[in-house]
Protein backbone atom coordinates (compact mmCIF):
# COMPACT_ATOMS: atom_id res chain seq x y z
CA UNK A 1 0.00 0.00 0.00
CA UNK A 2 1.23 3.46 -0.79
CA UNK A 3 1.24 5.70 2.26
CA UNK A 4 -2.06 7.50 1.98
CA UNK A 5 -3.26 9.87 4.63
CA UNK A 6 -6.73 11.30 4.91
CA UNK A 7 -6.33 15.02 5.40
CA UNK A 8 -9.00 17.66 4.95
CA UNK A 9 -12.44 17.02 3.49
CA UNK A 10 -12.23 14.48 0.68
CA UNK A 11 -13.61 15.24 -2.77
CA UNK A 12 -17.24 14.10 -2.98
CA UNK A 13 -17.50 10.87 -4.98
CA UNK A 14 -20.29 12.01 -7.28
CA UNK A 15 -18.70 15.41 -7.92
CA UNK A 16 -15.49 13.67 -8.95
CA UNK A 17 -17.47 11.47 -11.32
CA UNK A 18 -19.20 14.49 -12.90
CA UNK A 19 -15.84 16.25 -13.31
CA UNK A 20 -14.42 13.18 -15.07
CA UNK A 21 -17.45 12.97 -17.35
CA UNK A 22 -17.19 16.65 -18.33
CA UNK A 23 -13.43 16.44 -18.87
CA UNK A 24 -13.31 13.19 -20.85
CA UNK A 25 -16.85 12.27 -22.00
CA UNK A 26 -15.48 9.81 -24.57
CA UNK A 27 -13.46 7.81 -22.03
CA UNK A 28 -14.86 4.37 -21.21
CA UNK A 29 -16.59 4.15 -17.83
CA UNK A 30 -18.08 0.64 -18.03
CA UNK A 31 -17.47 -2.53 -20.01
CA UNK A 32 -20.52 -4.79 -20.01
CA UNK A 33 -21.08 -7.91 -22.14
CA UNK A 34 -18.49 -6.78 -24.65
CA UNK A 35 -19.88 -3.23 -25.01
CA UNK A 36 -18.43 0.01 -23.66
CA UNK A 37 -20.34 2.83 -21.99
CA UNK A 38 -18.60 6.22 -22.05
CA UNK A 39 -18.43 8.68 -19.14
CA UNK A 40 -20.51 11.27 -21.02
CA UNK A 41 -23.27 8.77 -21.82
CA UNK A 42 -23.29 7.42 -18.26
CA UNK A 43 -23.59 10.95 -16.80
CA UNK A 44 -26.44 11.78 -19.21
CA UNK A 45 -28.33 8.67 -18.08
CA UNK A 46 -27.63 9.45 -14.42
CA UNK A 47 -28.99 12.99 -14.87
CA UNK A 48 -32.17 11.67 -16.49
CA UNK A 49 -32.62 9.33 -13.53
CA UNK A 50 -32.04 12.21 -11.11
CA UNK A 51 -34.68 14.29 -12.88
CA UNK A 52 -37.20 11.43 -12.75
CA UNK A 53 -37.08 11.43 -8.95
CA UNK A 54 -37.08 15.22 -8.52
CA UNK A 55 -40.55 15.28 -6.93
CA UNK A 56 -39.65 12.89 -4.09
CA UNK A 57 -39.32 14.49 -0.63
CA UNK A 58 -35.79 15.29 0.49
CA UNK A 59 -34.08 12.62 2.57
CA UNK A 60 -36.75 9.98 1.94
CA UNK A 61 -35.05 6.65 1.15
CA UNK A 62 -35.75 4.85 -2.11
CA UNK A 63 -34.89 1.24 -2.98
CA UNK A 64 -33.37 -0.45 -6.00
CA UNK A 65 -32.79 -4.21 -6.31
CA UNK A 66 -29.14 -4.41 -7.34
CA UNK A 67 -29.40 -6.25 -10.66
CA UNK A 68 -26.01 -5.77 -12.28
CA UNK A 69 -26.22 -3.57 -15.40
CA UNK A 70 -25.11 -0.14 -16.64
CA UNK A 71 -28.74 1.01 -16.13
CA UNK A 72 -28.56 0.15 -12.42
CA UNK A 73 -25.22 1.94 -12.08
CA UNK A 74 -26.65 5.04 -13.81
CA UNK A 75 -29.60 4.99 -11.44
CA UNK A 76 -27.34 4.71 -8.38
CA UNK A 77 -25.34 7.68 -9.70
CA UNK A 78 -28.63 9.52 -10.21
CA UNK A 79 -29.47 8.97 -6.54
CA UNK A 80 -26.02 10.21 -5.50
CA UNK A 81 -26.54 13.31 -7.67
CA UNK A 82 -29.94 13.89 -6.03
CA UNK A 83 -28.58 13.11 -2.51
CA UNK A 84 -31.26 10.46 -2.34
CA UNK A 85 -30.53 7.72 0.27
CA UNK A 86 -30.74 4.42 -1.61
CA UNK A 87 -31.36 0.94 -0.24
CA UNK A 88 -29.60 -1.60 -2.45
CA UNK A 89 -30.89 -5.09 -1.61
CA UNK A 90 -29.68 -8.20 -3.36
CA UNK A 91 -32.00 -9.07 -6.24
CA UNK A 92 -31.78 -12.69 -5.07
CA UNK A 93 -33.74 -12.07 -1.85
CA UNK A 94 -37.26 -13.42 -1.64
CA UNK A 95 -40.19 -11.02 -2.02
CA UNK A 96 -41.11 -11.32 1.68
CA UNK A 97 -37.60 -10.52 2.89
CA UNK A 98 -37.33 -7.62 0.44
CA UNK A 99 -40.64 -6.21 1.65
CA UNK A 100 -39.52 -6.44 5.28
CA UNK A 101 -36.27 -4.65 4.42
CA UNK A 102 -38.27 -1.86 2.72
CA UNK A 103 -40.42 -1.61 5.82
CA UNK A 104 -37.46 -1.40 8.20
CA UNK A 105 -35.69 1.24 6.10
CA UNK A 106 -38.88 3.28 5.63
CA UNK A 107 -38.65 3.05 1.84
CA UNK A 108 -41.23 5.24 0.10
CA UNK A 109 -40.41 4.52 -3.54
CA UNK A 110 -38.99 1.59 -5.44
CA UNK A 111 -36.83 2.49 -8.43
CA UNK A 112 -36.09 0.76 -11.71
CA UNK A 113 -33.75 1.95 -14.48
CA UNK A 114 -35.48 4.14 -17.05
CA UNK A 115 -38.81 4.22 -15.23
CA UNK A 116 -40.54 6.70 -12.94
CA UNK A 117 -40.32 5.85 -9.21
CA UNK A 118 -43.05 3.48 -8.03
CA UNK A 119 -44.71 4.74 -4.85
CA UNK A 120 -44.93 2.13 -2.12
CA UNK A 121 -46.28 4.27 0.67
CA UNK A 122 -45.89 7.83 1.83
CA UNK A 123 -42.33 8.34 3.05
CA UNK A 124 -42.03 8.97 6.77
CA UNK A 125 -38.31 9.04 7.51
CA UNK A 126 -35.57 11.49 6.65
CA UNK A 127 -32.20 9.79 6.18
CA UNK A 128 -30.43 12.88 4.81
CA UNK A 129 -26.67 12.56 4.79
CA UNK A 130 -26.77 8.85 4.00
CA UNK A 131 -25.83 7.80 0.50
CA UNK A 132 -26.17 4.03 0.33
CA UNK A 133 -28.07 1.65 2.57
CA UNK A 134 -26.30 -1.68 2.13
CA UNK A 135 -27.32 -4.94 3.74
CA UNK A 136 -25.31 -7.59 5.54
CA UNK A 137 -25.19 -11.01 3.91
CA UNK A 138 -26.14 -13.16 6.88
CA UNK A 139 -27.28 -16.63 5.87
CA UNK A 140 -30.13 -16.71 8.36
CA UNK A 141 -32.81 -14.25 9.30
CA UNK A 142 -33.36 -10.76 7.96
CA UNK A 143 -30.26 -9.00 6.59
CA UNK A 144 -29.30 -5.95 8.64
CA UNK A 145 -29.46 -2.54 6.98
CA UNK A 146 -26.17 -0.65 7.06
CA UNK A 147 -26.43 3.04 6.15
CA UNK A 148 -23.25 4.62 4.81
CA UNK A 149 -22.93 8.39 4.77
CA UNK A 150 -21.64 10.26 1.75
CA UNK A 151 -18.67 11.34 3.87
CA UNK A 152 -17.84 7.68 4.60
CA UNK A 153 -17.93 6.90 0.86
CA UNK A 154 -15.78 9.92 0.00
CA UNK A 155 -13.17 8.98 2.57
CA UNK A 156 -13.14 5.40 1.32
CA UNK A 157 -12.59 6.55 -2.27
CA UNK A 158 -9.68 8.73 -1.18
CA UNK A 159 -7.98 5.79 0.53
CA UNK A 160 -8.71 3.15 -2.13
CA UNK A 161 -7.66 5.28 -5.11
CA UNK A 162 -4.34 6.03 -3.43
CA UNK A 163 -3.69 2.52 -2.18
CA UNK A 164 -4.24 0.80 -5.55
CA UNK A 165 -3.24 3.60 -7.91
CA UNK A 166 -6.71 4.02 -9.44
CA UNK A 167 -6.79 7.05 -11.75
CA UNK A 168 -7.98 8.06 -15.24
CA UNK A 169 -7.96 5.04 -17.55
CA UNK A 170 -7.14 2.45 -14.86
CA UNK A 171 -9.04 -0.76 -15.63
CA UNK A 172 -10.60 -2.43 -12.59
CA UNK A 173 -12.48 -5.73 -12.57
CA UNK A 174 -15.79 -5.88 -10.71
CA UNK A 175 -16.66 -9.46 -9.80
CA UNK A 176 -19.03 -8.92 -6.85
CA UNK A 177 -22.76 -8.17 -7.09
CA UNK A 178 -23.55 -4.45 -6.92
CA UNK A 179 -25.14 -4.74 -3.48
CA UNK A 180 -21.79 -5.79 -1.94
CA UNK A 181 -19.65 -3.35 0.02
CA UNK A 182 -16.59 -4.33 -2.02
CA UNK A 183 -18.11 -2.39 -4.94
CA UNK A 184 -17.02 0.79 -3.11
CA UNK A 185 -13.60 -0.09 -4.48
CA UNK A 186 -14.32 -1.87 -7.78
CA UNK A 187 -17.09 0.35 -9.07
CA UNK A 188 -17.40 3.59 -7.14
CA UNK A 189 -13.74 4.46 -6.53
CA UNK A 190 -13.02 3.66 -10.17
CA UNK A 191 -15.84 5.85 -11.50
CA UNK A 192 -14.84 8.69 -9.15
CA UNK A 193 -11.30 8.61 -10.53
CA UNK A 194 -11.99 8.23 -14.23
CA UNK A 195 -11.11 4.55 -14.48
CA UNK A 196 -12.71 1.78 -16.53
CA UNK A 197 -14.88 -0.78 -14.73
CA UNK A 198 -15.15 -4.22 -16.32
CA UNK A 199 -18.36 -5.75 -14.96
CA UNK A 200 -18.51 -9.53 -14.61
CA UNK A 201 -21.95 -10.79 -15.54
CA UNK A 202 -23.77 -12.35 -12.57
CA UNK A 203 -24.54 -15.42 -14.70
CA UNK A 204 -20.88 -16.01 -15.46
CA UNK A 205 -19.38 -15.84 -11.98
CA UNK A 206 -18.61 -19.55 -11.67
CA UNK A 207 -17.38 -20.13 -15.23
CA UNK A 208 -13.58 -20.19 -14.84
CA UNK A 209 -12.90 -20.43 -18.58
CA UNK A 210 -14.98 -17.36 -19.38
CA UNK A 211 -13.53 -15.40 -16.45
CA UNK A 212 -10.04 -16.16 -17.71
CA UNK A 213 -10.96 -15.07 -21.22
CA UNK A 214 -12.51 -11.85 -19.89
CA UNK A 215 -9.40 -10.96 -17.88
CA UNK A 216 -7.15 -11.77 -20.87
CA UNK A 217 -9.25 -9.60 -23.18
CA UNK A 218 -9.96 -6.60 -20.93
CA UNK A 219 -6.61 -6.61 -19.10
CA UNK A 220 -7.64 -5.20 -15.68
CA UNK A 221 -4.88 -3.71 -13.56
CA UNK A 222 -6.77 -4.00 -10.28
CA UNK A 223 -8.74 -7.08 -9.28
CA UNK A 224 -10.61 -7.65 -6.02
CA UNK A 225 -12.58 -10.74 -5.20
CA UNK A 226 -13.46 -13.63 -2.94
CA UNK A 227 -11.05 -16.60 -2.95
CA UNK A 228 -13.41 -18.61 -5.17
CA UNK A 229 -12.69 -16.27 -8.09
CA UNK A 230 -8.94 -16.84 -7.82
CA UNK A 231 -9.46 -20.58 -7.54
CA UNK A 232 -11.60 -20.60 -10.69
CA UNK A 233 -9.00 -18.52 -12.56
CA UNK A 234 -6.09 -20.64 -11.34
CA UNK A 235 -7.84 -23.89 -12.29
CA UNK A 236 -8.75 -22.56 -15.74
CA UNK A 237 -5.27 -21.17 -16.39
CA UNK A 238 -3.32 -24.21 -15.24
CA UNK A 239 -3.96 -26.46 -18.23
CA UNK A 240 -2.61 -24.00 -20.80
CA UNK A 241 0.03 -22.52 -18.50
CA UNK A 242 -1.61 -19.13 -19.10
CA UNK A 243 -0.71 -16.02 -17.11
CA UNK A 244 -2.43 -12.67 -16.56
CA UNK A 245 0.33 -10.06 -16.73
CA UNK A 246 -1.98 -7.01 -16.75
CA UNK A 247 -2.90 -7.31 -13.06
CA UNK A 248 -0.84 -5.00 -10.80
CA UNK A 249 -2.92 -5.29 -7.63
CA UNK A 250 -4.87 -8.42 -6.65
CA UNK A 251 -6.97 -8.18 -3.53
CA UNK A 252 -8.76 -11.04 -1.86
CA UNK A 253 -11.33 -10.68 0.84
CA UNK A 254 -14.37 -12.23 2.45
CA UNK A 255 -13.16 -15.75 3.15
CA UNK A 256 -10.11 -17.82 4.03
CA UNK A 257 -7.74 -18.15 1.10
CA UNK A 258 -6.78 -21.83 0.58
CA UNK A 259 -3.03 -22.42 0.54
CA UNK A 260 -2.94 -24.08 -2.94
CA UNK A 261 -4.69 -21.01 -4.39
CA UNK A 262 -2.25 -18.60 -2.69
CA UNK A 263 0.60 -20.72 -4.01
CA UNK A 264 -0.76 -20.50 -7.57
CA UNK A 265 -1.11 -16.70 -7.63
CA UNK A 266 2.50 -15.60 -8.23
CA UNK A 267 2.59 -17.78 -11.35
CA UNK A 268 -0.86 -16.73 -12.54
CA UNK A 269 -0.40 -13.00 -11.83
CA UNK A 270 3.34 -12.47 -12.35
CA UNK A 271 3.24 -8.66 -12.02
CA UNK A 272 0.71 -8.35 -9.21
CA UNK A 273 1.13 -7.29 -5.64
CA UNK A 274 -1.12 -9.55 -3.55
CA UNK A 275 -3.24 -8.34 -0.66
CA UNK A 276 -5.58 -9.84 1.89
CA UNK A 277 -8.17 -7.30 3.02
CA UNK A 278 -10.11 -7.60 6.25
CA UNK A 279 -13.32 -5.67 6.59
CA UNK A 280 -17.07 -5.95 6.83
CA UNK A 281 -20.07 -4.09 5.49
CA UNK A 282 -20.46 -2.11 8.73
CA UNK A 283 -16.91 -0.69 8.77
CA UNK A 284 -15.70 -1.35 5.22
CA UNK A 285 -12.06 -2.24 4.60
CA UNK A 286 -10.19 -2.04 7.89
CA UNK A 287 -6.92 -3.99 7.59
CA UNK A 288 -4.63 -4.67 4.67
CA UNK A 289 -1.98 -7.37 4.51
CA UNK A 290 0.40 -7.51 1.60
CA UNK A 291 1.82 -10.96 0.91
CA UNK A 292 5.55 -11.08 0.34
CA UNK A 293 7.14 -14.38 -0.60
CA UNK A 294 5.37 -17.66 0.06
CA UNK A 295 3.21 -17.59 3.19
CA UNK A 296 3.75 -20.23 5.87
CA UNK A 297 1.05 -22.79 5.05
CA UNK A 298 0.71 -23.79 8.69
CA UNK A 299 -0.43 -20.33 9.74
CA UNK A 300 -3.42 -18.25 8.70
CA UNK A 301 -2.63 -14.99 6.93
CA UNK A 302 -2.23 -12.06 9.35
CA UNK A 303 -4.82 -9.28 9.28
CA UNK A 304 -1.99 -6.90 8.50
CA UNK A 305 -1.93 -3.16 9.17
CA UNK A 306 -4.93 -0.98 9.99
CA UNK A 307 -5.72 1.42 7.14
CA UNK A 308 -5.02 5.14 7.70
CA UNK A 309 -7.48 6.47 10.28
CA UNK A 310 -8.55 2.99 11.39
CA UNK A 311 -8.31 2.04 15.07
CA UNK A 312 -8.64 -1.45 16.48
CA UNK A 313 -8.96 -3.01 19.95
CA UNK A 314 -8.94 -6.56 21.27
CA UNK A 315 -11.45 -6.99 24.07
CA UNK A 316 -11.43 -10.03 26.32
CA UNK A 317 -14.42 -11.98 27.64
CA UNK A 318 -14.60 -9.69 30.71
CA UNK A 319 -14.82 -6.57 28.54
CA UNK A 320 -11.27 -5.40 29.23
CA UNK A 321 -9.02 -4.06 26.50
CA UNK A 322 -6.10 -6.42 25.88
CA UNK A 323 -2.85 -4.56 25.39
CA UNK A 324 -0.43 -7.45 25.10
CA UNK A 325 -0.52 -10.86 23.44
CA UNK A 326 -3.73 -12.89 23.69
CA UNK A 327 -7.10 -13.44 22.05
CA UNK A 328 -10.16 -11.24 22.14
CA UNK A 329 -13.01 -9.87 20.13
CA UNK A 330 -11.90 -7.32 17.55
CA UNK A 331 -13.46 -3.87 17.91
CA UNK A 332 -12.93 -1.57 14.92
CA UNK A 333 -13.50 2.10 14.26
CA UNK A 334 -12.94 3.36 10.72
CA UNK A 335 -13.40 6.60 8.75
CA UNK A 336 -15.63 4.63 6.33
CA UNK A 337 -17.99 3.05 8.81
CA UNK A 338 -21.72 3.15 9.36
CA UNK A 339 -23.14 5.00 12.35
CA UNK A 340 -25.39 2.05 13.16
CA UNK A 341 -28.02 -0.29 11.75
CA UNK A 342 -31.48 0.82 10.71
CA UNK A 343 -34.67 -0.82 11.90
CA UNK A 344 -34.90 -3.59 14.48
CA UNK A 345 -31.15 -4.32 14.32
CA UNK A 346 -30.40 -0.81 15.64
CA UNK A 347 -30.80 -2.27 19.13
CA UNK A 348 -28.36 -5.13 18.52
CA UNK A 349 -25.54 -3.53 20.50
CA UNK A 350 -22.99 -3.97 17.74
CA UNK A 351 -22.04 -0.28 17.67
CA UNK A 352 -20.74 0.71 21.09
CA UNK A 353 -18.64 3.32 22.90
CA UNK A 354 -15.07 2.47 23.86
CA UNK A 355 -15.34 -0.40 26.39
CA UNK A 356 -13.26 1.51 28.93
CA UNK A 357 -14.51 4.97 28.01
CA UNK A 358 -11.11 6.00 26.65
CA UNK A 359 -12.41 7.98 23.66
CA UNK A 360 -15.52 9.34 21.93
CA UNK A 361 -15.30 7.16 18.83
CA UNK A 362 -18.03 4.81 17.79
CA UNK A 363 -16.71 1.25 17.84
CA UNK A 364 -18.04 -1.71 15.92
CA UNK A 365 -17.97 -5.10 17.62
CA UNK A 366 -16.87 -7.32 14.76
CA UNK A 367 -17.79 -10.62 16.40
CA UNK A 368 -14.42 -11.89 15.14
CA UNK A 369 -12.07 -13.58 17.54
CA UNK A 370 -8.54 -12.31 16.86
CA UNK A 371 -5.21 -13.36 18.33
CA UNK A 372 -2.32 -10.98 18.94
CA UNK A 373 1.04 -12.76 19.03
CA UNK A 374 3.99 -11.49 21.10
CA UNK A 375 5.38 -9.64 18.05
CA UNK A 376 2.06 -7.80 17.64
CA UNK A 377 0.84 -9.73 14.59
CA UNK A 378 -2.95 -10.05 14.49
CA UNK A 379 -4.57 -13.19 13.05
CA UNK A 380 -8.19 -14.15 12.72
CA UNK A 381 -9.15 -17.16 14.81
CA UNK A 382 -12.84 -17.33 13.95
CA UNK A 383 -16.18 -15.99 15.08
CA UNK A 384 -16.74 -15.36 18.76
CA UNK A 385 -20.24 -16.79 18.47
CA UNK A 386 -19.00 -20.01 16.85
CA UNK A 387 -17.17 -21.23 19.94
CA UNK A 388 -18.44 -24.52 21.29
CA UNK A 389 -17.41 -26.78 24.13
CA UNK A 390 -16.34 -30.33 23.37
CA UNK A 391 -15.79 -32.52 26.42
CA UNK A 392 -15.37 -29.29 28.38
CA UNK A 393 -12.76 -27.81 26.05
CA UNK A 394 -13.49 -24.54 24.23
CA UNK A 395 -13.16 -25.17 20.50
CA UNK A 396 -13.59 -22.91 17.49
CA UNK A 397 -14.68 -24.88 14.40
CA UNK A 398 -13.38 -22.15 12.12
CA UNK A 399 -9.89 -22.47 13.53
CA UNK A 400 -10.04 -26.17 12.63
CA UNK A 401 -11.24 -25.23 9.16
CA UNK A 402 -8.34 -22.80 8.71
CA UNK A 403 -5.91 -25.56 9.69
CA UNK A 404 -7.46 -28.01 7.22
CA UNK A 405 -7.11 -25.39 4.48
CA UNK A 406 -3.49 -24.92 5.48
CA UNK A 407 -2.71 -28.50 4.40
CA UNK A 408 -1.07 -28.36 0.96
CA UNK A 409 -3.38 -31.05 -0.46
CA UNK A 410 -6.65 -29.52 0.78
CA UNK A 411 -8.51 -27.15 -1.53
CA UNK A 412 -11.80 -26.77 0.32
CA UNK A 413 -12.97 -27.55 3.83
CA UNK A 414 -16.07 -27.25 5.95
CA UNK A 415 -16.21 -27.85 9.69
CA UNK A 416 -19.42 -27.82 11.60
CA UNK A 417 -20.19 -28.27 15.28
CA UNK A 418 -23.28 -30.33 16.01
CA UNK A 419 -24.80 -30.87 19.43
CA UNK A 420 -23.86 -34.20 20.97
CA UNK A 421 -25.64 -35.62 24.02
CA UNK A 422 -22.46 -37.01 25.53
CA UNK A 423 -19.69 -34.61 24.52
CA UNK A 424 -21.69 -31.37 24.43
CA UNK A 425 -20.72 -30.80 20.83
CA UNK A 426 -18.90 -32.81 18.23
CA UNK A 427 -17.14 -31.63 15.07
CA UNK A 428 -17.89 -32.93 11.60
CA UNK A 429 -15.43 -32.02 8.89
CA UNK A 430 -15.32 -32.50 5.15
CA UNK A 431 -12.16 -31.75 3.19
CA UNK A 432 -11.79 -31.79 -0.57
CA UNK A 433 -8.37 -32.91 -1.72
CA UNK A 434 -6.36 -31.58 -4.65
CA UNK A 435 -6.96 -33.54 -7.87
CA UNK A 436 -4.52 -36.45 -8.02
CA UNK A 437 -3.74 -36.25 -4.32
CA UNK A 438 -3.69 -39.49 -2.32
CA UNK A 439 -4.42 -37.70 0.96
CA UNK A 440 -6.55 -39.74 3.37
CA UNK A 441 -8.17 -38.80 6.63
CA UNK A 442 -5.46 -40.62 8.62
CA UNK A 443 -2.69 -38.32 7.46
CA UNK A 444 -4.96 -35.28 7.62
CA UNK A 445 -5.69 -36.16 11.26
CA UNK A 446 -1.95 -36.25 11.86
CA UNK A 447 -1.70 -32.73 10.41
CA UNK A 448 -4.38 -31.48 12.81
CA UNK A 449 -3.02 -33.40 15.80
CA UNK A 450 0.28 -31.52 15.56
CA UNK A 451 -1.50 -28.20 15.93
CA UNK A 452 -4.68 -28.70 17.94
CA UNK A 453 -5.76 -29.95 21.29
CA UNK A 454 -7.24 -33.42 21.01
CA UNK A 455 -10.83 -32.31 21.62
CA UNK A 456 -10.63 -30.02 18.58
CA UNK A 457 -9.80 -32.85 16.16
CA UNK A 458 -13.08 -33.58 14.37
CA UNK A 459 -14.73 -36.81 15.51
CA UNK A 460 -15.90 -37.28 11.93
CA UNK A 461 -13.50 -36.30 9.16
CA UNK A 462 -14.20 -37.22 5.56
CA UNK A 463 -12.12 -36.70 2.44
CA UNK A 464 -13.88 -36.03 -0.83
CA UNK A 465 -12.89 -35.40 -4.44
CA UNK A 466 -16.10 -33.49 -5.15
CA UNK A 467 -16.49 -29.70 -4.88
CA UNK A 468 -18.18 -28.61 -1.65
CA UNK A 469 -21.54 -26.87 -1.94
CA UNK A 470 -21.27 -23.09 -1.94
CA UNK A 471 -23.57 -20.21 -1.08
CA UNK A 472 -24.67 -17.56 -3.57
CA UNK A 473 -21.78 -15.40 -2.38
CA UNK A 474 -19.22 -18.10 -3.12
CA UNK A 475 -18.49 -19.17 0.43
CA UNK A 476 -18.47 -22.84 1.40
CA UNK A 477 -21.93 -23.73 2.67
CA UNK A 478 -21.11 -25.57 5.90
CA UNK A 479 -24.70 -26.47 6.56
CA UNK A 480 -25.24 -28.11 3.17
CA UNK A 481 -21.79 -29.70 3.16
CA UNK A 482 -22.80 -31.35 6.43
CA UNK A 483 -26.05 -32.62 4.99
CA UNK A 484 -24.45 -33.95 1.82
CA UNK A 485 -21.70 -35.87 3.57
CA UNK A 486 -23.23 -36.92 6.86
CA UNK A 487 -26.57 -38.56 7.37
CA UNK A 488 -28.36 -37.38 10.48
CA UNK A 489 -27.62 -40.66 12.25
CA UNK A 490 -23.87 -40.71 11.69
Amino acid sequence: MEGTTIAGPPRPLVKSFVDQARRTPEATALVWRGHSVGYGALLARAERERDRMAALPAGAPAALPAVKSPGTIALILGCLLARRPLLLPSPALGADVTERLYEQAGVGHVLAPGRPPAARRSPTVDLSGNALLLTTSGSTGLPKIVPLSSTALDQFVTWAAGAFGIGPGTTVLNYAPLNFDVCLLDVWTTLARGGRVVLVDAERVTDGGRLLALVERERPEVVQSVPMFYRLLADAARAGGRTLPSVRHAVFTGDTMPVPVVAALPGLLPHARLYNVYGCTETNDSFLYELRGTPDPARPLPLGQPLPGVEALLVDAEGRVLDGPGSGELYVSTPFQSEGYLGAAAASGAFVPHPEGADDRRWFRSGDLVRRSPDGTLTLVGRTDFQVKILGVRVNPQEVEHLLLAHPDVTEAAVRAVPDPAAGHTLRAVARRRPGSRLNSLSLRGHLAQRLSRAAIPAALLITDEPLPRTATGKVDRERAGHVHFTEES
Partner: protein, 87 residues
Protein backbone atom coordinates in the same frame (compact mmCIF):
# COMPACT_ATOMS: atom_id res chain seq x y z
CA UNK B 1 -0.71 -59.90 15.77
CA UNK B 2 -3.53 -62.42 15.58
CA UNK B 3 -6.36 -59.96 16.10
CA UNK B 4 -5.04 -56.99 14.11
CA UNK B 5 -7.17 -57.53 11.01
CA UNK B 6 -10.43 -57.79 12.96
CA UNK B 7 -9.52 -54.76 15.09
CA UNK B 8 -8.71 -52.71 11.98
CA UNK B 9 -12.02 -53.67 10.43
CA UNK B 10 -13.89 -52.64 13.55
CA UNK B 11 -12.04 -49.32 13.99
CA UNK B 12 -12.48 -48.39 10.34
CA UNK B 13 -16.15 -49.25 10.28
CA UNK B 14 -16.88 -47.44 13.51
CA UNK B 15 -14.62 -44.38 13.31
CA UNK B 16 -13.02 -43.98 9.87
CA UNK B 17 -15.72 -44.48 7.23
CA UNK B 18 -13.63 -43.17 4.33
CA UNK B 19 -10.56 -45.34 5.04
CA UNK B 20 -9.96 -48.99 4.15
CA UNK B 21 -8.60 -51.42 6.77
CA UNK B 22 -5.43 -51.85 4.69
CA UNK B 23 -4.65 -48.14 4.93
CA UNK B 24 -4.72 -48.17 8.72
CA UNK B 25 -1.25 -48.85 10.02
CA UNK B 26 -1.06 -50.97 13.18
CA UNK B 27 1.10 -48.25 14.79
CA UNK B 28 -1.15 -45.29 13.86
CA UNK B 29 -1.95 -43.39 17.08
CA UNK B 30 -5.73 -43.52 17.35
CA UNK B 31 -5.87 -41.34 20.46
CA UNK B 32 -3.41 -38.60 19.55
CA UNK B 33 -5.00 -38.26 16.13
CA UNK B 34 -8.47 -37.92 17.55
CA UNK B 35 -9.93 -41.07 15.97
CA UNK B 36 -10.96 -42.45 19.33
CA UNK B 37 -11.93 -40.05 22.11
CA UNK B 38 -12.96 -40.98 25.64
CA UNK B 39 -16.43 -41.93 24.43
CA UNK B 40 -14.99 -43.89 21.53
CA UNK B 41 -12.84 -45.76 24.00
CA UNK B 42 -15.98 -47.09 25.67
CA UNK B 43 -17.17 -48.41 22.29
CA UNK B 44 -13.85 -50.16 21.72
CA UNK B 45 -13.95 -51.78 25.14
CA UNK B 46 -17.57 -52.90 24.68
CA UNK B 47 -16.61 -54.44 21.34
CA UNK B 48 -13.65 -56.29 22.83
CA UNK B 49 -15.85 -57.71 25.61
CA UNK B 50 -18.49 -58.76 23.15
CA UNK B 51 -16.27 -60.17 20.44
CA UNK B 52 -13.60 -61.91 22.55
CA UNK B 53 -15.63 -62.67 25.66
CA UNK B 54 -13.21 -60.72 27.83
CA UNK B 55 -14.52 -59.42 31.14
CA UNK B 56 -12.79 -56.05 31.31
CA UNK B 57 -13.89 -55.60 34.92
CA UNK B 58 -11.15 -57.97 35.93
CA UNK B 59 -8.31 -56.26 34.06
CA UNK B 60 -6.79 -52.85 34.45
CA UNK B 61 -7.90 -50.45 31.70
CA UNK B 62 -5.45 -47.79 30.71
CA UNK B 63 -5.87 -45.56 27.63
CA UNK B 64 -2.36 -46.50 26.45
CA UNK B 65 -3.64 -50.06 25.96
CA UNK B 66 -5.84 -48.79 23.15
CA UNK B 67 -3.80 -46.10 21.41
CA UNK B 68 -2.92 -48.21 18.37
CA UNK B 69 -4.24 -51.32 16.64
CA UNK B 70 -1.06 -53.08 17.78
CA UNK B 71 -1.70 -52.06 21.41
CA UNK B 72 -5.30 -53.27 21.27
CA UNK B 73 -4.06 -56.52 19.73
CA UNK B 74 -1.57 -56.94 22.59
CA UNK B 75 -4.28 -56.16 25.14
CA UNK B 76 -6.64 -58.78 23.69
CA UNK B 77 -3.80 -61.29 23.46
CA UNK B 78 -2.87 -60.81 27.11
CA UNK B 79 -6.46 -60.87 28.31
CA UNK B 80 -7.32 -64.00 26.32
CA UNK B 81 -4.18 -65.75 27.60
CA UNK B 82 -5.12 -64.91 31.17
CA UNK B 83 -8.66 -66.15 30.62
CA UNK B 84 -7.40 -69.41 29.08
CA UNK B 85 -5.03 -69.91 32.01
CA UNK B 86 -7.65 -69.02 34.58
CA UNK B 87 -10.37 -71.24 33.07
Amino acid sequence: MPYAQAIKEFVVEEFLPDVSPAELDADYDLLANGVIDSLGLLKVIAWIEDRYGIDTDTVELRPESFHTVAAIDAFVTRASYRRTKGA
